[in-house]
Amino acid sequence: MASGKLYGYGGRILRVDLGTGAVRTEPTPESLAREYLGGRGFVAKILWDELPVGVEPFSAGNKVVIASGPMAGLFLPGSGKIEMGTKSPATGLYGEGNMGGHLAGELKFAGYDAVIIEGVSPKPCYVFIDDDRVEVRDASKYWGKGCFEAEKMLKEDLGEDFKVATIGPAGENLVVYAVVSHDFGRQVGRTGVGAVLGHMKVKAIAVRGSRGFEVADPAGVLKKGKEMYEACFAKPGFDEWTPYGTAGVTDWVNEICAFPTKNFQTGYYERHKAINGQTLKERICILDKGCTGCPIPCGKYSRFEFSGKTYYVEGPEYETIALMGGNLLLENIEDVAYVNYVADELGLDTISGGSVVAFTLECLEKGVLTPAEVGRELRWGDPEGVAWLLERIARREGIGDVLALGVKKAAERFGKGSERFAMHVKGLEVSGYESRYAPAMMLAYMTADIGAHHNRAWAITYDAAVGQDKTEGKAWKVIELQHIRPLFDALGLCRLQWVEIGFELSHYADMFPLVTGWEYSWEDLLKISERIWNLTRCFNKREKPDFGRVYDLPPLRWMEEPLPSGAGQGRCMPRDKAEKMLDEYYSLRGWDSNGLPTKGKLQELGLGFVLERLKLES
């Protein structure tokens, strides 16, 4: 194969300057591909290289990077993940999310590995990509529409074969947990990428690709892909997991006292069976919905009635069942599906949105806010009240204007002790695992680069395996998972085949050289993942000079309030124990006592260029 030719890649990076309307492409650098792979790796490196230090998230200097990976868009299981990243308006730190659907492959079919969106458009626009034809087009007729409505309109206007991603009113109004939505139910949910696009006045991205891309060994990829699919079908869990998707874990999470309930006041919800995966399947799910190349479609497309109207929504999946179900004390699956639909159409992250609503309800309960200040009586378990508040937030009306900033900033504004139940780490709301009885999971939340998100290291089964009371000796597992799981995000792959049905990691290791022609071992790939991990840590240090240990502490509720009931009754994570977990974690990572990569670690990982910027000491 020709030296310098990239196999498994579209081959180009597309740059769109919204201020001037200029569009240009540049070849994807081989060094970028070899050292950072793609997806999350491209996002991290491009943001490091190109964002001015200290750039305001809502400013013309911020950028949104959208990146596919070398194993996306191929004939192999889970080949459909795309990453989007920016400087997060929620945290002021590295921001990134991923989603499935069909955009990752389509972008590569059009010949692009990444799209860098820069500047601010003078008026609402969308980015139109049809192979080599790229335009910044007027989006005034779509502006103000919900995510689903806008996607439907664009597909009607452009053609069904376009893959479309949209923002909703929440993104247009700069809610810091606004999502980018795609395929009527998939979202880049965390860290507010949708809000940055809203600030840029980008309503949508529409992609169609017909060029295709080359792989190093086409016959080998086809043969190995077939083998991978057959191996998936043969897994005993294949038939058992697929009907329920991620919602199938709901009962188990309650049994181990880890289900967010009433703003994380407890870890067990008595009505969990009314909102679990089995109930979803029996009552409202009408079909399974999957992404490119997926044999275990996790999407559960539902039809349900609410207040005399029929609604359709993809979901609710586990995180929404947790943060908008148990966390708000909603009583049945239709109620959860309804608020899921409202959030999705508005373009709000159901995790952060659920947490913000729960925080507000507790503020009312504790007298931090009055109904007059909120604008309405709200109570736990009321889906219409939840929907009303989500609308206020998306439109930045009344109390919604402050709540649109997330629980950390809302608590700073409201005061009166509300910071004690603002459930976040680094400004990102905690996702679906109450962790006072799951120390490894808590450590995962504490140390994730973007804030409290589980996708970096789902460590809760390690707690179940070695003991939920144990706090020592768990850091190594969190670190191992923080290298494996984000590696999927760099490759453009979904990890659910591995996580849910035990699909062997060796399959991906065997496939990688067939696609790229590079003889990287799985350990080589994990080293790249570790490189990316350290780079995003340094990005955070660069953007916040005081960044370090204090940013890694858990929410005050987890440090100060023992669980009141359930299997984990009496457990919490006092600060000194949390700090001990961090000591172990930093030491294993080769970081200093403040949680910053040492000079030796950076050099080992090929990140010496970071040293000059940060002037780190060894």
Binding site: K235, P236, G237, E240, W241, T246, G248, V249, T250, D251, W252, V253, E255, I256, C298, E317, Y318, E319, A322, G432, Y433, H454, N455, W458, I460, T461, Y462, A464, A465, Q468, L496, W498, V499, E500, I501, G502
Partner: protein, 78 residues
Amino acid sequence: MVRVVVRVVGHAREFFPGGRDRFDLEFDGAARVADILTKLGVGRALVMTAVVGGRRRDLDHPLTDGDEVILMTPPSGG
């Protein structure tokens, strides 16, 4: 004698002996699904659901000679 084939599903099989996903076990006399976990030295929290003969069963379900038992370890929530 009760002989069963045990298949372990999900990435958490790494916490089962040898990280294996298949075990051929024998029990003298009557046994339940829970006895499989005891024999393998695995805590109950690591098994979300047991499937015996194609049907979901709880851990107290009695085993029959020749059963195939699928132990579903907890999947991730997304």
